[in-house]
């Protein structure tokens, strides 16, 4: 029986940062779309940026004020960082495996017998200001850079020789988001019926992006 997708929740023993996060619902989840593997962390967000950058080219002409602007779509770049805190050996080992799974999500899936790597989009859910629309709880991205940064000033947990776990580590994510698209007429009709918006003709949902 092949192994199914992993769904790894956060560590919570009643005293940890995970317990507080569970109580408040502050949980960020990453899903590797190609495999279905999921991993969650307490959403101890340190910083966040959501940049919508029109892809434009400008041309100027003599004696004509203001440039001529041509726009070819818009890119959405997201970056944020969060910390993972460890308060016990058990929690540190659990979180190490969770962080490992997140780092592994930067790698592709292979088809057996073939060498083609299938890169995976990552679905990020749980951050209220990172949602595709008011009816969605997630945003799908491809991550361009993921960094794992130890904070030695906070100290380490050293249960035995050869094992070292940081008390605090920072994960930073830089990603480009996929913009949600309305792909069929039924969806447009449902917007008119359910949301009371007439003549919605944009390719993305009317509540995109949703920050609240």
């Amino acid at each position: 029986m092949p192994v199914g997708p992993v769904n790894r929740g956060i560590y919570s023993d009643g005293r940890s940062a995970g317990a507080h996060a569970l109580g408040k619902g502050y949980i960020v989840t990453f899903k590797h779309v190609a495999t279905g593997h999921m991993v969650s962390f307490p959403a101890a967000i340190q910083n966040f940026s959501d940049a919508h950058s029109p892809d434009t080219s400008e041309q100027t002409f003599t004696s004509q004020m203001d440039p001529m602007i041509q726009q070819d779509g818009t890119a959405r770049n997201i970056s944020f960082s969060f910390v993972v805190a460890n308060s016990s050996v058990e929690e540190a080992r659990y979180n190490q495996q969770s962080v490992n799974l997140l780092l592994q999500m930067m790698y592709p899936r292979y088809e057996f017998g073939r060498r083609t790597a299938i890169g995976s989009y990552i679905e990020i859910s749980g951050l209220s200001f990172l949602r595709d629309s008011s009816t969605s709880n997630s945003t799908t991205v491809y991550i361009t850079n993921l960094t794992y940064d130890l904070n030695p000033d906070e100290g380490f947990i050293t249960p035995g020789p050869g094992e070292l776990y940081p008390i605090l580590l920072t994960i930073s994510v830089s990603a480009q988001a996929l913009i949600p698209e309305i792909t069929n007429i039924e969806e447009i009709n449902s917007i008119e019926v359910n949301e009371g918006i007439e003549d919605w003709r944009q390719p993305y949902p009317p509540s995109y992006p949703s920050y609240k």
């Binding site: 092949p2 192994v3 199914g4 997708p5 992993v6 790894r8 590797h32 190609a34 495999t35 279905g36 593997h37 726009q71 070819d72 779509g73 080992r93 190490q96 495996q97 962080v99 490992n100 799974l101 780092l103 592994q104 930067m106 790698y107 592709p108 899936r109 292979y110 088809e111 057996f112 017998g113 790597a117 299938i118 890169g119 995976s120 491809y142 991550i143 361009t144 850079n145 993921l146 960094t147 794992y148 940064d149 130890l150 030695p152 050293t158 249960p159 035995g160 020789p161 050869g162 094992e163 070292l164 480009q176 996929l178 913009i179 698209e181 390719p203 993305y204």
Partner: protein
């Protein structure tokens, strides 16, 4: 391991781990043999691993909401900095020696034969550059586990504010006569004399030299993996969601020998590729260039579509195939 102040060494051995560097070479039997090894307990100040995925964005229709994104590969880069404090002259000398060896890892590999063809008319040797060093392995506890690395950056900064160990010519009278203090301490330390406690070796007899009490080192590297990374793949037949390495260990960072790995990381029995040549053949274990071979697709291999379309034996097409490194037959002209 070379000398290190006893407190640091004891603490390192019982609780932490050293930074170990090994240069390796491939032996004739295909194994890996160390050619140089050095290590030291270091005081970590920064540790930053970066996983950079390359995605190409293809041009698509003008104004398309989403472009076409195509994944290529992922690079793992590591930036590491640490301090090397010294409590005495010997400690400082060993720190500097360690840094010298590390610095040399940033240079490529050169060779000169010293015969006539490699010496110019001005008696200068001619060096042939043989490329970057790809034979370096780093081991640093459960953070870097004997990984093959390529050094991209090295910097060495003595911290003079922390102080230095200086030369001392102060005359000291001993049973053998008068001797400069620094030289006396050098001699007593080299003889492992109990007359010189570790913390008293604070001056030396090397005129004009200073030994810093603290140095800071930054190293940047790219980690090169000699095993597959991803999910599924050639070592995971029938298990597309398991980690490709198939070694029953956590990756990239370890969790110790007693903590169980997650099920998707557990090791599967790996089917070995069939031996194509007979073992008696002395050439069997040597790599042979893979030549595409040709056979003919017979009637029994015709698909139902072929039959419906009336393609028969008279239209047999040659099928080119080869055997890849995993023993799988790869058809080249589907």
């Amino acid at each position: 391991m070379s000398y290190q102040f006893s407190n640091v060494e004891t603490s390192g051995r019982t609780k932490y781990f050293p930074l170990e560097i090994t240069r390796v070479s491939r032996s004739q039997t295909g194994g890996v043999e160390p050619t140089e090894e050095f290590s030291r307990f270091v005081f970590l100040t920064t540790y930053n691993e970066s996983f950079e995925a390359t995605w190409t964005v293809n041009d698509s229709n003008f104004g398309a909401v989403n472009k076409t994104f195509r994944y290529s590969q992922t690079n793992r880069k590591l930036s590491l900095s640490f301090k090397l404090p010294a409590r005495n002259v010997a400690d400082s000398k060993e720190n500097l020696d360690f840094c010298q060896k590390l610095a040399r890892l940033a240079y490529g590999k050169y060779y000169t034969s010293l015969d006539g063809s490699s010496i110019t008319e001005f008696n200068r040797p001619v060096y042939n550059y043989q490329g970057a060093l790809f034979d370096i392995r780093f081991n640093f506890g459960n953070l870097i586990r004997n990984e093959n690395v390529y050094i991209t950056e090295f910097s060495f900064t003595p911290n003079f504010d922390a102080g230095i160990f200086e030369y001392s010519a102060t005359p000291v009278t001993t049973e053998n006569g008068t001797e400069p203090l620094g030289r006396l301490k050098d001699r007593l330390f080299s003889e492992s004399s109990s007359d010189l406690p570790e913390t008293s070796y604070t001056s030396h007899g090397d005129l004009g030299k200073i030994y810093p009490k603290e140095v800071e080192v930054n190293i940047g590297m790219v980690i090169l993996h000699d095993y597959p990374l991803g999910f599924g793949g050639p070592r995971r037949e029938g298990e597309p969601l398991k980690w490709a390495e198939n070694r029953n260990r956590d990756w990239p960072h370890g969790t110790g020998p007693t903590y169980p790995v997650l099920e998707y990381m557990t090791e599967d029995e790996e089917a070995l590729p069939e031996l194509i040549v007979t073992p008696e053949d002395p050439e069997a274990e040597q790599d042979q260039p893979v030549e595409p071979q040709t056979t003919t697709r017979g009637r029994e291999e015709l698909t139902s579509e072929d039959v419906r379309a009336g393609r028969g034996a008279q239209q047999q097409e040659p099928v080119q195939w080869t055997v890849d490194e995993y023993g799988n037959i790869q058809v080249l002209n589907y």
